[in-house]
């Protein structure tokens, strides 16, 4: 009995010594630890203040008119975000339709086919790292030029905004898709190849299906970044005061973040309340996307 107790204590002492925890009890160390705790939870505190503050500001406008009315200059207290919400949905679908196939194709090439020692593949790698950090307004300027090339001057249509957002999230999708493909163990590829499948058949029937949960997670996280972007859309002439539903990719539109920006810039109290309430709607949309991504990751992702 006694000997086991002693051994137990010795082990725990050794464990404590090996992590340095036993010497953490002086004032300096404690202050340091408290500072670290503070920096860790600072973000959560700010987020809480932000949500509570915004919810209080927007409380008078949590009504169905917020979602069903168009923007109104005559009745600021009845202004709504219908055009923005529908515009954002159109933008997201169009953005995904452009960015997802391109992103997956590029990631497949880089992971499965490219020879990483070739200079042109190294340039692609370096370029991707760099594109991921290009400011979003710059993508807006690029999309303006692309739209001018295909004959649409700054008219604020869905297609233009979607091109800007697709360019913006393409590096994100490529990087996360590559990680998902890399996580598929080589044995699966070797097994397929050994049975006589070609590289393409292996990729299409084995590697790609195995990495779909990871790809879906990355895509949704990319879209959740795009959904809140306003800066590149501003450059494409997408304005806040649109009082009709978008009808197609060539239809002029607005977007929820743009409407929030335009409403916040108005000085009347009623507009500030409407903006705060719309922010809660936007946060719920972002949160829903993130929740979906986490759900897919936990439910479908396999540990190899």
């Amino acid at each position: 009995m006694t000997s086991t107790t002693i051994e137990y204590t010795r082990e725990s002492v050794q464990a404590a010594v090996s992590t340095g925890r036993s010497r953490d009890r002086n004032t300096g160390s404690l202050v340091f630890l408290i500072l670290l705790w503070f920096s860790l939870f600072f973000g959560v505190m700010v987020l809480l203040v932000l949500i509570v503050n915004t919810a209080i500001d927007g409380a008078p406008r949590f009504d169905s008119e917020l979602l069903t009315n168009y923007d109104s200059t005559l009745f600021p207290e009845k202004t709504g975000f219908r055009a923005g919400i529908l515009g954002t949905v159109w933008l997201m679908v169009t953005t995904a339709a452009m960015a997802v196939p391109l992103g997956i194709a590029a990631a497949l090439y880089l992971e499965e086919f490219a020879d990483g020692t070739r200079w042109y593949n190294r340039i692609i790698e370096l370029n991707l790292q760099n594109l991921a950090a290009v400011p979003s307004v710059v993508y807006g300027l690029l999309a303006v030029a692309v739209m001018a090339l295909i004959g649409f001057q700054r008219k604020g249509i869905v297609l233009g905004g979607a091109i800007a957002l697709a360019l913006l999230i393409l590096p994100v999708i490529i990087i996360t898709t590559r990680e998902a493909i890399r996580a598929v163990p080589n044995e699966i590829r070797f097994g397929s190849l050994a049975l006589g499948a070609t590289m393409l058949q292996t990729t299409w029937r084995q590697t790609l299906p195995s990495s779909i949960p990871g790809i879906a997670t990355g895509t949704i996280l990319g879209l959740s970044r795009a959904i809140g972007e306003a800066a590149p859309l501003l450059l494409l002439g997408i304005a806040g005061a649109v009082r009709f539903d978008p009808t197609g990719v060539l239809s002029p539109t607005t977007a929820l973040p743009i409407q929030i920006y335009a409403t916040t810039s108005q000085s009347q109290e009623a507009y500030q309340q409407a903006a705060a309430a719309a922010i809660i709607v936007l946060l719920v949309m972002v949160l829903a996307l993130n929740g979906l991504a986490i759900f897919i990751r936990n439910k479908f992702q396999r540990e190899w």
């Binding site: 860790l40 020879d115 400011p135 393409l170 070797f190 393409l200 306003a230 800066a231 936007l282």
Partner: protein, 311 residues
């Protein structure tokens, strides 16, 4: 990439005496090569985008400098002066780094050196939550809470409705996750033996973290800070809403001042006909912004290379 060893084991060098029944020579597969070319094209598109950005910016910029002398652009005052915009960006970015570097690094040190594996898994997403908030929401927060409540009421400061301080503070909160997440990677990459050596010499965890782990991870931490800097410079909606819409060359963050990105957003939001001087100036400022972030990103990538090589 990884399977090249499998396919490259190559055709047999012998005359095929025993393997005559199996043909291992590369057969031409037209579909395979077409699809491969298509995939490669998609990857090449990313390079095309970079050149597209430069090409898209250059043409209006050439027009701009045909209309406005270069000296008026690189001037401290005047309609087309860019120096006050750079000044505004520097002030807001500096405030942001003052907030984000200690807090981001603190969170990273806790996650890497103090938290258990399970705690890290649970705590890391809470730090990254901040990165998911749309920037226009942060801008509204700066206008509706940071300036009126925090700065004017609680801290009793004499600041205007828009000021660089509020914008910079919120900008700093936004880039905390960038700095925290990359610094954590760098700190975690420091070999365990270095920590054990330090602890064996009698140092406690604080001394080990600050004097052994942090210096060893310095280039990775520097890369994280530089990337955060690039994010802060390029962030648009916070400064467009909260930093101000007037050019103001000043080092006092309590004043309102327009930044480069703020100028781009506010000018683009207005009605400027395509081809006008103001419209072309958007592209001139955009090109400058792109070049600045390009250089900063290159520095960050170089730092990352160094810390990867070290261990």
């Amino acid at each position: 990439m990884n399977d090249s060893s499998a396919t490259a084991s190559g055709p047999p060098s012998g005359a095929g005496l025993t393997r005559a029944s199996i043909d291992l020579s590369p057969r031409s597969r037209p579909v395979e090569s077409v699809v491969k070319a298509g995939l490669m094209g998609s990857a090449m598109l990313s390079v095309l985008i970079t050149f597209g950005i430069i090409a898209a910016l250059i043409e209006p910029v050439i027009h701009f400098f045909g209309q406005v002398p270069f000296g008026d652009f690189l001037n401290t005052e005047g309609t087309y002066a860019v120096i006050p915009l750079i000044g505004g960006t520097l002030v807001t970015t500096f405030v942001a780094l003052v907030v984000a570097v200690p807090l981001g690094l603190g969170a990273a040190m806790y996650l890497s050196e103090y938290a258990s594996k399970r705690a890290r898994k649970a705590l890391k997403p809470t730090v990254e939550l901040l990165a998911g908030v749309p920037s226009v929401v942060y801008g509204f927060f700066a206008l509706s809470f940071v300036t009126p409540t925090l700065l004017q009421d609680i801290l009793n400061m004499q600041v205007g409705f828009t000021n660089a301080l509020a914008a910079g503070l919120v900008l700093g909160v936004m880039i905390i996750p960038t700095i925290a997440s990359l610094s954590e990677d760098a700190l975690s990459a420091v070999p365990q033996a270095m920590r054990q050596g330090s602890l064996a010499m009698g140092a406690n965890r604080m001394q080990t973290t600050l004097r052994v782990v942090l210096p060893a991870a310095l280039s990775g931490v520097a890369a994280a800070v530089v990337l955060g800097l690039s994010r802060a410079i390029g962030e648009t909606m916070i400064v467009a809403l909260a930093a101000g819409a007037q050019k103001n060359l000043s080092l006092d963050p309590r004043e309102g001042m327009q930044t480069m990105t703020g100028f781009i957003a506010q000018t683009a939001g207005g009605e400027n006909p395509v081809g006008s001087v103001d419209y072309n100036m958007l592209f001139a400022v955009g090109l400058l912004l792109f070049l600045i972030t390009l250089v900063i990103n290159a520095i960050s990538i170089a730092f990352v290379r160094r810390f990867r090589q070290a261990y």
